[in-house]
């Protein structure tokens, strides 16, 4: 038996669903494959529109081979997430070209649903969720179209949307109560974390400048009370001690369960929501107090037990005025003085001169700062290329640099003058979102500063960038750079409405992160504890989930049944009227019209005739008359039924 060919509206919905599903994938699919999918969909659309027959099987086979070849050329293999999704995207487009029956149509819908899920393998933000929802609505509309007769597209979309909305309560129950596991639900292949931007644990000239162009969010901090002033917002990342003449790397450190300093001074407590960066360091405000489950290095970094691969929430307290490193080990100090031989001779000479001129260690540091200020160094995202001796050519030739140049030069100078010093990388500043009051720190806030060790005072933070570009520290990157500098659109300061929009979107995104993506076992436990389930294990959760789903389904069923039997108040009142008459032995037949019923009643019960006739006439007018009925009529109707008490 051959199945009926697809109607035009059916293929239209299938195409719309597939297009909505595939469009967001274009971002990560190979360009050739995206173009091929688009062309195939377009072709199928033209065929559907003109009613011409579908291409021959052999042609489809050739196209499929071509598609597989594209995937092979782009990825060199067929395993893992990217080639898998690419293959499925191609297959979805090709499947549409051979789809001319309801059965095939269902297969396309199924594949569309799977591909919508596939988007979440790449991103889980709100926009992707919204797109997936749109795709799901189109796919459900396709299913409806495959099932029923042709109706206008608006009605079809409305019906599909209503179906999706009816699924929302069940979705919420499953979302809240499904037993959570830490980490992603499925084991992601090795390439899952490949494209994470952020600080790395080494620093060479140009590294941070590259980050400066990214407006991606690194982390957010929500302070209890006022946040610290901009000049104290130093978020400590990797501390770099070893220098090979070009690249800075961390020295040998060890971690303990508690910090090596005694916290004192002003305290700031805040909640940090860290975007995944695939590294184990955490970016705390200097200097965090003790928190359980975290590790503290002897360079005052805060570490997680394992790399941060999911968004993490930390509640921390920091004490910026804590003195640190008062009793630093000789080994650490020796490392902080090492300079590679044969590099930067002019800077070493400068250091030696400063040492002879100065009067004690404090004076060396002061004179170095003064020297940097007097050198008229320029702060820029695009410094001129440097020679082999990076620091020399920055300090004496080009005099243009980003924070990594400033900090490297400063540390080399201090070390040459015999002062232990090191580079600290991290983030500085952040922007307060006025919508929800959180401090948003982006990749463009990445920064490098220095620490010098002074006997009796420990490690002192010195930010050489501040010497040349104080605005960078006070007001952020955009303020410190010259107006002509190339900046990401959203980091620009001159478009107030755009900033406002971005702030609102950020706040919304933050909510999404906190409550949807960040809904982890801990949050679930806290929520359930608030509901009175102290230590729910997975059996309790499953039982709760089953009960919740049953309740939701029951309520939905009752709602649907009620809607069928009594659409509105007029019908309910009329039903009450009929019930009261049934109670006194005058039952209305199901097929009997209200006017006929009243006439029959008038014969059987003349005492009720007037009241019943009036009510029936009102009901007839309200129910069957033109819609512009007088509102007084409805009130009169309800009132007279309320007063109608037959005996």
């Amino acid at each position: 038996m051959t199945e009926a060919r697809l109607r035009r509206d059916q293929s239209g919905w299938l195409l719309a669903g597939a297009a909505l599903t595939l469009a967001p994938h274009a971002e990560h699919l190979p360009l050739a494959l995206s173009a091929m999918c688009a062309l195939l969909l377009l072709w199928r659309g033209i065929l559907a529109h003109t009613g011409r027959p579908l291409p021959h099987r052999l042609l489809l086979l050739a196209l499929a081979t071509g598609m597989v070849a594209i995937v092979q050329i782009e990825f060199q293999h067929f395993f893992g997430k990217d080639p898998g999704i690419a293959l499925l995207a191609g297959l979805l487009s090709l499947k549409l070209l051979e789809t001319d029956s309801v059965r095939d149509g269902r297969a396309v819908v199924l594949l569309s649903f799977f591909m919508q899920l596939g988007q979440f393998l790449y991103q889980q933000n709100m926009a992707v969720a919204a797109l997936a929802l749109l795709g799901a609505i189109a796919a459900i509309a396709s299913l409806l179209a495959l099932q029923g007769s042709a109706v206008p597209a608006g009605l079809r979309a409305g019906a599909a949307t209503r179906l999706v909305l009816q699924g929302v309560p069940l979705m919420l129950v499953l979302f809240v109560l499904f037993p959570r596991v830490q980490g992603p639900l499925w084991g992601l292949p090795a390439d899952a974390y490949s494209s994470v931007t952020g600080l790395s644990n080494s620093m060479a000239p140009g590294d941070l400048a590259r980050l400066g162009e990214s407006s991606e969010i690194a982390f957010r901090a929500a302070f209890e009370g006022d946040p610290p002033p901009p000049a104290e917002r130093y978020w400590r990342g990797p501390v770099l001690t070893r220098f090979d003449g070009h690249t800075w790397r961390p020295g040998r450190t060890h971690a303990t369960d508690a910090p090596a300093y005694r916290s004192q001074g002003i305290a700031y407590s805040y909640t940090l929501t860290l975007e995944p960066h695939n590294q184990s360091w955490l970016l705390a405000l200097d200097f965090p107090g003790t928190a359980p489950g975290l590790a503290y290095t002897d360079t005052f970094q805060l570490l997680a037990r394992e790399p941060v691969r999911n968004r993490q929430r930390l509640t921390l307290v920091s004490y910026p005025h804590t003195p640190v490193g008062l009793h630093e080990s000789a080994n650490t100090l020796r490392q902080a003085l090492e300079l590679p031989a044969g590099f930067n001779p002019r800077t070493r000479e400068l250091g030696a001169r400063l040492r002879t001129e100065a009067n004690g260690t404090d004076d060396i540091v002061a004179r170095t700062i003064t020297h940097f200020q007097d050198s008229r160094l320029t702060y820029t995202l695009e410094p001129a290329p440097l020679g082999r001796d990076d620091v020399d050519s920055f300090l004496f030739d080009t005099r243009q640099g980003f924070c990594e140049h400033f900090s490297a030069a400063f540390v080399v100078t201090l070390r040459a003058a015999g002062v232990p010093a090191r580079v600290v990388t991290g983030y500085q500043g952040g922007e307060l979102n006025p919508v929800d009051g959180t401090l948003v720190i982006r990749q463009s806030d990445a920064h490098a500063w220095t620490e010098a060790w002074l006997a009796g005072r420990g490690w002192i933070r010195i930010d050489p960038t501040a010497a040349s570009a104080p605005l960078r520290i006070q007001n952020g990157l955009a303020a410190a750079l010259p107006d002509s500098a190339r900046l990401p659109l959203l980091a620009r300061g001159d478009m107030a409405w755009l900033r406002d929009l971005r702030n609102r979107l950020d706040a919304l995104d933050n909510r999404w992160n906190q409550w949807v993506l960040g809904y982890n076992p801990a949050r679930q436990k806290a929520l359930l504890a608030a509901l009175g389930f102290a230590e729910p294990d997975w059996q309790v959760l499953t039982a709760l989930m089953g009960a919740g789903s049953a309740i939701v389904m029951g309520l939905l069923t009752i709602w649907a049944l009620r809607r069928r039997s009594s659409a509105d108040a007029i019908d309910r009142s009329w039903a009450r009227f009929c019930q009261r008459l049934t109670a006194v032995g005058c039952e209305r037949a199901a097929w009997e019209g209200p006017l006929d019923f009243a006439d029959r009643l008038a014969c059987e019960r003349p005492d009720l005739a007037d009241a019943a006739r009036a009510i029936a006439a009102d009901y007839a007018r309200l129910r069957y008359g033109p819609a512009d009925a007088d509102p007084a009529l409805g009130r009169r109707f309800h009132q007279s039924i309320k007063n109608f008490r037959p005996r």
Binding site: G593, Y624, P626
Partner: protein, 323 residues
């Protein structure tokens, strides 16, 4: 001429005599003076006219079928023609014939008796199917094709056909497709005792008919047509009509359900019935009142057992609850 919808119910007392309901009542009253005791049938016949449908009256001879047609023509002030159908009748006897005109040297079309506003097709089932179909084509198309030309029929155009019950000798039953073109099929039946007494004791019907004045003023029939079309049909009523249609198609007792055309006919007739009842909207009661007349000749019971059409439609009504 102002239309019905411009007259809200409570503002029209001054113009009472021009209200559609009063026109209808005057018509019923006048007709009932001649056709005694048959008010329901008269009202149905009038509803059929208001809905611009053709009427089939099926009954045994001598109960006043022809009289009803005459009365309607007189009351409505329509130009009237009667065609007595016989078994030797040819289509040309109905639609007209082309005759060669010696003077002009050309054929000239002489219109037949069908060119009238109200055509009484008496005993239609006595004619052969060929003659029947000539009339039925005119009913559907409201025009005549002859000699390669089309001749429009007068406006309005009604056919009131009468037929004897099919089991009488020498009749050709109308097939379903042709029955479908009649909006209603009604029967008159024997008069009740009192009406028959009045009939026997009273004046000759033919004399009464001759003196019967036209009730409608020129143009009033158009008012009635327009007013019928404007009677409101709400979504609830459409639900009900659709439920009736659906049930007639699914019900086990019926081998032939109601067509979409039957649905339209049902709504049109129910509108006219509501108009006569003085309502500006159709009620399920109106549908139920006209259903036997509109659906009786379109339904066919399953199996061989002949069943009265009234019984079929009554069962249909009682099987479908109001939405």
């Amino acid at each position: 001429m102002l239309l019905w919808s411009h007259y809200p119910l409570n503002l029209t007392l001054k113009k009472a005599h021009t209200m559609p309901i009063h026109i209808a009542n005057r018509l019923v009253e006048a007709a009932s003076r001649i056709i005694l005791g048959k008010e329901h049938a008269v009202r149905l016949a009038l509803a059929c006219v208001f809905a611009r449908g053709h009427l089939l009256i099926e009954d045994i001879p001598g109960v006043g079928k022809t009289t009803l047609a005459h009365v309607l023509a007189r009351l409505l002030g329509l130009q009237f023609q009667r065609i007595q159908f016989t078994s030797d009748m040819l289509p040309a006897d109905i639609v007209g014939v082309s005759v060669f005109d010696q003077r002009d040297g050309a054929f000239r079309f002489h219109p037949g008796p069908v060119f009238a506003q109200l055509v009484l097709a008496d005993e239609i089932n006595r004619a052969t199917p060929k003659a029947q179909s000539a009339l039925l084509e005119a009913m559907e198309e409201r025009q005549i094709s002859a000699e390669g030309r089309t001749w429009p029929l007068p406006e309005p155009f009604f056919v009131i056909a009468t037929q004897n019950p099919g089991d009488q000798i020498g009749t050709f039953a109308l097939p379903e497709s042709q029955l479908d073109r009649f909006l209603m099929r009604i029967s008159l039946g024997y008069p009740d005792r009192a009406a028959e007494r009045a009939l026997l004791a009273g004046e000759d019907r033919r004399d009464l008919l001759a003196r019967l004045p036209a009730v409608l003023q020129p143009g009033e029939l158009d008012t009635l047509f327009a007013a019928t079309r404007q009677v409101h049909v709400g979504p609830r009523l459409l639900d009900y009509v659709q439920a009736l249609l659906a049930h007639s198609r699914d019900a086990s007792g019926l081998s032939l359900g109601l067509s979409p055309r039957a649905g339209l006919a049902l709504l049109g007739a129910a509108r006219a019935w509501a108009l006569q009842a003085g309502r500006d909207h159709v009620m399920p009661e109106d549908v139920q009142a006209v259903l036997p007349a509109v659906a009786g000749h379109r339904l066919r019971p399953a199996g061989d057992a002949p069943q009265a059409a009234d019984e079929l439609t009554r069962r249909l009504i009682e099987a479908v609850p109001l939405p």
